[in-house]
């Protein structure tokens, strides 16, 4: 059955609905149920419109996030490719001496993930970008803690819900950028995330689509299909390396990645 394209007015209305939920801190019912949004292309239109809405109010883009990079999560969502969202500067929590703080009350139902962040050094603007081309264009890498959050009630998300909801972006903090990390084996590099002093989840680079640079190559090609190259200066967080851990007020998370200084995030 052919679907009617969703009008720009409807796209704008849904983007505003998500933005109100984000700003005023309440959850909404899934857009797949309440608005019948079912395809990724329409969901990306909503996400893009939402970002533009925020840019108009002074928001800045610092890069992109890649989601749904683990086989298990893809199977759970019934998809066979990742998705992406935009990193908004207003939710970047800088680490001082490896320690960052985030105000708990700005989130709805936050969870944390350990990831590898890429700092892109040269713009990638040609077809069919490969992981090796991504690595060659990468300036430095770092350990990163991403806060994922959902504006959708009880995280009851289908693919189109999370894409429209900026790939469930919540916020992030990034450890010191390392040029040396570029020459590590990003597939086998290990990480441990501790929760309130106890080791909670463990992972390795291969959890992100087999190789974090493969996830970034996917992103570069996907963005390019929308006419946006991955640019020099963009930060990309390349996907969770282990299960997500729910966060409560006052929780302290510590990410240790092989060869990198530890980075902590406290919800205050």
């Amino acid at each position: 059955m052919p679907e009617q394209p969703v009008t720009e007015v409807a796209i704008a209305e849904l983007a505003q609905r998500l933005d109100r939920a984000w700003e005023e801190r309440f959850t909404i019912s899934p857009l797949t149920e309440s608005a019948g949004i079912s395809d990724a292309a329409t969901a990306y239109r909503i996400q893009t419109h939402w970002t533009e809405l925020r840019l108009g109010r002074g928001e800045r883009i610092i890069g992109r996030k890649i989601g749904l990079t683990s086989k298990a999560v893809q199977e759970q969502m019934g998809v066979n490719e990742p998705d992406y969202g935009t990193l908004w500067a207003s939710r970047y929590f800088p680490a001082v001496g490896g320690r960052a703080e985030a105000p708990f009350e700005v989130f709805l139902q936050p969870r944390v993930e350990g990831e590898i962040a890429f700092l892109i050094g040269e713009t990638l603007d040609w077809p069919d970008i490969t992981p090796q081309q991504v690595l060659a264009a990468t300036e430095a890498l770092a350990a990163a803690i991403e806060i994922v959050d959902s504006r959708i009630e009880r995280w009851r998300i289908k693919l189109a819900d999370t894409i429209a909801d900026n790939a469930s972006y919540g916020g992030l903090t990034i450890g010191a950028w390392s040029k040396a990390l570029r020459s590590s084996d990003l597939r086998t590099i290990g990480m441990v995330m501790s929760h309130n002093g106890r080791p909670a989840v463990f992972g390795a680079g291969a959890a992100a689509l087999g190789h974090p640079a493969l996830a970034v190559a996917w992103l570069a090609n996907k963005l390019r299909s929308f006419g946006i190259p991955l640019r020099a200066g963009d930060i990309v967080i390349s996907g969770a390396l282990a299960a997500t851990v729910p966060a409560q007020r006052g929780d302290l998370f510590m990410l240790e990645m092989h060869g990198q200084p530890p980075i902590s995030l406290r919800f205050v």
Binding site: G121, E122, L124, W126, P127, D128, I129, T130, P131, Q132, Q133, L135, A136, A137, T138, K179, A180, R182, S183, S184, D185, L186, R187, H211, A213, L214
Partner: protein, 244 residues
Amino acid sequence: MELTRAEDSLATAIHQARMSRQPIASRAEDWAVNLAGAYRIQRARVPDAHCIGYKLGLISPAKQRQMGLDQPIYGRISRAMIRERVINLSDFVQPRLEPELAVVLRRPLPASAEPGMAVRAVGGIFLGVDILDSVWADYRFSAVEVIADNASGGGFLLGERVPDRMPDGELRLYLNGELRAAGPVAALGNLAQQLCWLAQAVGGLAAGQIIFLGSPAPAIPAASGVLEVMLGDDIVQAQLEGAG
């Protein structure tokens, strides 16, 4: 770009051999095509818009002399030639394997580049495998024939690690667990000079282009099974399937 009648008949012979997967016998110099014409033939097969990199061949002066040359040769790489973990050998005519290194450029390198610029243009060095695939029976060919056949370029594999400097040591190629070819990285020559030579030969290189640097070891015939190339603590693995 127009090919001459002689160039066109050589290009057609190569194309038909590749399509039918039937090797053809060398006719040495009978084609009445010169080296520039041979490079025009490979450019017609992989036009500039589809060229994502190059392979260097005949990098040893001894091999160059055997072929009556005094410099390396190059072939063109299209995106479709870059293979991943599982490779079907029946896609090829006479596949052979060489352990190699490849660089990916992060910045363009103009034709007039100096060696220092070449070093700064390199974004990463990767382990690689060159899956050679000559249409010339038993790899017996003239310089014009091998160049027109895209320097025997068939398929390519790349590793996923970026060492922080040009690695040294011995490149080793294993097939089904057996060491089949090995050669020192030092035999690849001076990286910056090779890149400058290539940049000049092709009229400049673009950011993102992938350049295979040639092999320090003789090629071995491909056969089904597990292919591994190692250098230091880095490894590339692939599964070869099908005839061979």
